[in-house]
Amino acid sequence: MDFFKRKFPILVVFVVGLLMIIAYYVPHKPFNQFEGGASMWYMIIRSFALVLAFTSLIRSHYLKIREGKLGWGYSLVMFLALIVTTVFGVLPYGKNNLFGTRSGTIYMWIFDYVNTPAAATVFSLLAFYIASAAYRAFRVRTIDATIMLIIAIIVMIGRVPWGEMFSEFMTSKISHHLVFIRLDRLTSFLLNYPTVAARRAVYIGIALATVSTSLRVILGVERTYMGSDE
């Protein structure tokens, strides 16, 4: 039993992991065929995760309603939304244009007039919160905060038409020596050089961490994905 519970998964991970690494660097037969097949398998297995998510969602909300926990009413709304969208989305498309997920169906009506406006409204509230938070939090308390504040103002002005117009006016009408205060070009510089340098450092860090974690999993050092021993 221990072999199938502990050793067999490690063996599968080791063999598949090694083959996938080889396939990436040797894109020829038979490795590329294996990679293609493995990707298809992953897509199929991944689709089953939806079943797991569906079951888990129903279970947790059902328990919330049964036990009358705080906010159980929202769980009822969730069930209503789940049933309505599933019924209208999954049933086959017919002449009545009610079922299915094509344009003009009830499913798409829910997407267009409930899902999209609700999601976009919540996201749009950020504009109000950011304005209030920027006023309260952006203070020149330290040198770091001052640099950040100046850069934020440059980018905010440089990325909008008035900033571009101002830059254009300063260089063309006043003096072309004022090119150093062209905020649009300064914004472009900030995005193309300092941001890229910092981002690249982060990317390299992520890549090294991913390689090390993957190697630990492939070599069987990292075994938490198999759950606890008990």
Binding site: S39, M43, M108, A131, V140, R141, V160, E164
Partner: protein
Amino acid sequence: MNIKVINKFLSIDRRIIYVLVAVVILIPIIKPLNLPVQVTKEVLGVYNEIDKLPPGSKILVAFDYEPASTPEMDPMAKAVIRHCFRNHLKVIGISWLEQGRGNAQNVLSFITDEFQRQGRPLKYGEDYAYMGFKAGESAMIMALVHDFKGACIRDYLGNDVYTMPILKGIGSLGDFPYLAVLHDDSMINSWITYGHEIVGIKIGALCTAIMAPGIYANLSAGQLTGIVGGLKGGSEYEKLLGYRGLATNGMDSQTLVHFLIIIFILIGNFAYLAKERNLRKERLR
């Protein structure tokens, strides 16, 4: 400065800020300011690559954004699809984000209806097609690299992709001359890792403003041909196509809001510095 006045400036009621933000957003919607937009080289990088494709070329468009991002993403999605159809390119859409499917359907039907009204009907399956949502994230891209039709099997309407004229000659992801990725998440990284790096497909990134700074590293590394970021990028693309759309009009509101935020930041900081100065004076006394 009087300490009472300073404290007032330091604690402006957030409701006043909210009302002012709402007002400056609404004013340009009611009366557009028609502010001019300058085109950047990042947006030109996407536009030029699509523009130089010969008529009949097939372009893959990934609709990987959620409904929450539609106000920012839809204008640029419409602009790029409009550009493709104007140039007689064939568009094949795909999503690996479940909710991207609804956005793709809406954008494609909006633009095809527009061309229909203009007397140039576009035929589904020949001029454009949509593969629908495909699960699997990175693995899906790897599968598309090996066998595009085998990974899709059926389009969103349930049609067999092997019989679709638009996919004739497409065996792998690498058979597409260009890929436009519309995204509001970090999904572009997988398209770059498994698409660009393996089969060398050229990629243009069209994303929300918040995602754009993060992918300039990929642009400078030559993994992307260009970036269309946020409403600003969308407005530049609209300018290149010669019309003022939702992105360009939205830039009016964005301009005013940016300046309002800057004014509030300055007020807060002047008041903060004045308070600090007063405190220092009191300590010296």
